[in-house]
């Protein structure tokens, strides 16, 4: 019993530390990628290849003076931070990083909790995360922040629906909501679900960008109109936490889920020895993350009403059609 708890705590610690470290170092990756896309160097001064830049940034953000605007709703102001950060971490609780293995006769699953409603947790966390944005906009007592958070709310409401229907196709084929089961069924069938569900994958990509507030859906920030929108009144590390949660943890989490749903999770040829499932999983995830970064530094941004327009008028009908067709096919062939 105690050992189970310890193992669980160990897994949580690993995911947390890796998650935070990844988040910090993704800022470096993003700046390097952006730099090379934009014909410049990116960070290069602090440490070799600028590798210590995230640490320098972290020190700077942590040591900054805390400024809370007059008239701000202070408890909600802090609650917003928690509500932004915690759900993006909780997504990782249902991400399976590899197949189970046995140590000293004890089976260990490299997933924090293999619940049978894993995907529902992902959706739930995505919906909760929007409260962080809304609270931040409301509590800041600033018009820019307020408008930014309202835009985000509108986007999330519409894309939650599309996301749910898009993923339904995969669930129908796999016959399970558990992330581990979905990966296993793909390995059993020997095929990735992107082959069966290409439309669903594209819809998922849209929703992923919208949920994480990446270009072309970064309307809640829109630095030209709203001066970075909902987080404009936050300073220091409080300010740093929002992009960490939204831009990095959310993107990595949702990419990992995409890999689970469409790219066969950890499956792949055993060319890296015993570590190869984990390496495949990370490679696939970061390929998707890189794709997101690439889009971010290439495309302009949509307008708020266009985004909701696209969601309700184009994406949702396609998603519904996809679900109906998938259901028919699954029914006929099983």
């Amino acid at each position: 019993m105690i050992i189970d708890v310890l193992i669980a705590l160990g897994k949580i610690a690993v995911v947390l530390l890796v998650g935070l470290g990844l988040g910090a170092y993704l800022t470096w990756v993003e700046r390097k990628v952006a730099g090379h896309i934009q014909a410049r160097m990116g960070p290069s001064v602090v440490g070799p290849f600028g590798l210590f830049q995230p640490i320098a940034d972290g020190v700077k953000l942590v040591t900054k003076e805390s400024i809370i605007p007059r008239g701000a709703d202070v408890p909600v102001y802090y609650l917003a931070l928690i509500l932004a950060l915690v759900p993006s971490f909780l997504i990782f609780s249902v991400v399976p990083f590899g197949p189970s293995f046995t140590v000293f006769g004890r089976e260990i699953k490299p997933i924090i909790s293999d619940v049978n409603i894993g995907l529902l947790i992902v959706f739930a966390m995505g919906s909760i995360a929007v409260y962080g944005t809304i609270f931040a906009g409301w509590a800041s007592n600033s018009k820019y922040a307020f408008i930014g958070s309202l835009r985000k709310a509108a986007v999330i409401v519409s894309y939650e629906v599309v996301l749910g229907f898009a993923v339904l196709g995969v669930i129908l084929i796999a016959g399970s909501l558990s992330t581990v089961e979905i990966v296993n069924s793909q390995i059993e069938k020997g095929i990735w679900y992107i082959v069966y569900q290409p439309v669903a994958f594209i819809l998922y990509l849209f929703c992923m960008l919208a949920e994480s507030g990446r270009v072309p859906f970064d309307i809640q920030e829109a630095e030209a109109e709203l001066v970075t929108g909902y987080n404009v009144e936050y300073g220091g590390m409080r300010f740093g936490l929002f992009p960490l949660a939204e831009w990095y943890l959310n993107v990595v989490g949702l990419s990992a889920i995409a890999v689970v749903l469409f790219f066969g999770g950890w499956s792949g040829p055993h060319i890296f020895g015993p570590l190869s499932p984990y390496i495949w999983f990370l490679v696939k995830t970061f390929a998707l993350v890189f794709f997101t970064l690439w889009l971010h530094w290439t495309l302009p941004r949509f307008q708020a009403k266009d985004i909701t327009d696209i969601a309700w008028k184009i994406l949702l009908p396609i998603a519904l059609l996809n679900v109906v067709v998938t259901a028919f096919v699954v029914y006929l062939f099983s």
Binding site: I147, V215, D218, A224, V227, T298, P300, Q303, A304, K305
Partner: protein
Amino acid sequence: MPWISKEREERIKNRYKDVNIIRYEHAVSFEVGKDAFKDFLKYLKDEEGFKHFVDLTCIDFPDRDERFQGVYTLYNPDYNERVIVKTWAHNGRLPTVTDLWPGAKWGEREAYDMFGVEFEGHENLKRMFLWEGYPHFPLRKDFPLEGYKEEELPSLTEVLAGREDPPSHDFELVHTKIATLEDIERTERARLKKKAQLVLNWGPLHPGTHGTIWFLFDLEGEEVVQCDVILGQLHRGMEKIAEHLHYFQFLPYTDRMDYISAICNELSYVQAVEKLLGIEVPEKAKYIRTMFAELQRINSHLLWLGTGALDLGALTVFLYAFREREKIMDIIEGNAGYRLTTAFLRIGGVHYDLAEGTLDVVKAFVKDFYGRLKEYHSLLTRNRIWLRRTKDKGIITKEDVHAYGLSGPVARGSGVPYDLRKLEPYAAYDEVDFDIPVGEVGDVYDRYLVRMEEMVQSLRIIEQCVEKLEKLPKSAPYINKKHPAVMSPKQDVFHDLEDMVKNFRIVVHGEEAPPGEVFSSAENPRGELGFFIHSKGDSRPYRLRIRSGALYNLSIFPKLIQGGSIADAIALLGSLDPVVGETDR
């Protein structure tokens, strides 16, 4: 400038007997009495086709009873003719012309702000640049250049040190008035009465406004119900300064108006003065001017492209544009010695001959730039998101172009081929071959395409200039130093007594200008930049009016944005492309 033709003048004279015609070579004006004034303007607009509004200003003659003279510049786009109408104010009042040309709204407010002339019938006659409650009218002749010193502003360090008297520093404690927070609040309230849910402020400092403009948006949700603009944060009173300087001394000030296209500003100003003084410019100088003006135009359009795309979230285009801008800056720096505020042109020519190797660098740049333009096109032009953000947004009709006095790419985006390089060729524009791109719909996207194509046309012009300059001998003169009002180049001054004496005389006494009037304008990247000079035969202008293209282009913004969202506002503002240094002057 092609001014009003003799036949038309005769026809008008027959109809209005008591109209007084003053004909100078570069400005033809009708002086109209107060009673016939509105009727005369209506006639000019409706029947003679002078429907394009160019400019409105006042001149102060303190020794006359009526004192203020209103000066209206109009343009006939069908026959390419221009005319000035003048009328005297009665008891400091003039009738408004906003019912004929809504573009006069801001012009009248500016005249009210600067001269205290009241325009009867104006819908919201508030100060344009200065704050509500400012007691003086700066462009009046009795207002001293340094202002009235009436407010004590002690040094902060002295106050903190607790020292009272005498001040340890050698600077004056009494200054001209500055706006207090209450003043600014009063100004804000005077501009916009809140009707909808919330008033969103953009500015005075805001990343989307490209300078210190202050926008007020009255929002219903994200929809803009009404909007107004508060200008003046960068107002330096250039017109007042010009009245106190010799003609050559004002040149560096023009750099600081539209600081992104300094050489184009200089070109416009230098031409106005050359017309007034009757100076011929050598051929080489003409081509150097044209080439650099076009380089500057590309430079300016690149800045517009970069920031415009940045506003719509395309971050990478910004840095790509700046990469190419840097090359142009380098060429300019190598020739003028400065990057931004160049002071490169001189009255009668240019400051320096072409630096060694300039033409090779320019050729290399042109060759490279065609490919770069393709890169920008591939990033934006067919991009679905870009189209969605720009198509059918902020449509300007042809009528509005004329009524608001729009010019530059903003006018051409709406299909009005109003390009002074063709209509009134200056410098070497009549000897080079180029086309004027025009839009069809007049939306943000058309203005984008027009500017992109203008860069290609600029490249064509530059290529032809390079070709010509390569043929010209190195010894060809680049400044017309024979003219008595043109300063000789520095190296001559050190070797030639006559040149030294001439320069000494000009520096001390200034150029002697004949009495007269000149209205001269040039096609700037941001529209028509005009200089109206009223000379009384002194070495300083009696009145120098700067007609800013950016100001008139911006004046249609509050109308266009009604019913749009604030995301449209940013796209629209980017497409109008104002520069605050020029709107405020």
